[in-house]
Symmetry: C2
DNA sequence: CCGAATCCAAATAGATACTG
DNA sequence: CAGTATCTATTTGGATTCGG
């Protein structure tokens, strides 16, 4: 799969035959950091929580549940650094900080959602496979 | 999160309004482990390498490059456990083991590719955002 | 040739306490 | 309210060695 004889769907392929091997390799390298960001334990949940609009720090913490202040702070900073999330400080007292998705962040939602739909559709199969594997060992 | 007033695009949504909140939450939980699997440093590269057909252990090691035996072995076992990859031992001497994608593994490729396409399209923006962020600090 | 086992270093995550 | 600082526990990854 993913050779020049790929499935032929219209999605832009990472494996474009018009690129030399080195560029295909570097394209592959480009994917890895994004998957690392999206694949970490919290980023997607945050992006998802922000999908319906801006949220404050502690609202996010409550919405997501199970995340420590530290990880929420670190992950938000990473998302901000990558241009996926904006951080807006209102100099009021008590202080208030809103986090919101950027256009880039919103554009990320669609492929993440596609993966989420896959996960949703197939996670019974995965769970079954895991049970089979664990039982046999 | 992701209320009925979502962006309204036509993509199949995780946030189907016909599901009660608890199901949306559990859907969210279902996504995380899959993203963790796909988001680790090597799984996607392995799935990708297997995309064009079965491969032997050391072929994979060479194809991927930079992966240790340990991580290749561990990651393959994880993918096998999740039912994404099959492991076939040929009792020859010297021994030979083929790894191949299952149907489930192949079905995963499409959403991964969508994410990869996003990464490809937007990674200049991400890099720029990172430079901006790093410069301003 | 395939890969398990061991050992070690580094990165990561949680809990807790503290600050503007 | 919105974090930072610190400490520790867990996870992760590489290198090396050994076995089937």
């Amino acid at each position: 799969m993913l050779g020049p004889d790929h499935t032929g769907d219209t999605a832009p392929s990472l494996d474009r035959a018009d690129l030399p091997a080195a560029d295909r390799a570097s394209a592959c390298q480009a994917v890895a950091p994004v998957l690392a960001r999206v694949g970490d334990k919290w980023s997607v949940l945050i992006v998802r929580a922000l999908g319906s609009g801006p949220r404050r720090f502690n609202d996010l913490k409550r919405d997501i549940g199970g995340i420590s202040q530290r990880m929420l702070s670190l992950t938000l900073r990473g998302l901000e650094r990558d241009g996926l999330v904006t951080r807006t400080v209102f100099p009021t007292v008590p202080p208030r900080v809103d986090y919101a998705l950027t256009g880039l962040g919103r554009s990320l939602w669609e492929p993440v959602e596609a993966l989420g739909a896959w996960a949703q559709r197939h996670h019974p199969e995965i769970a079954a496979a895991q049970r089979r594997y664990d039982a046999q060992v």
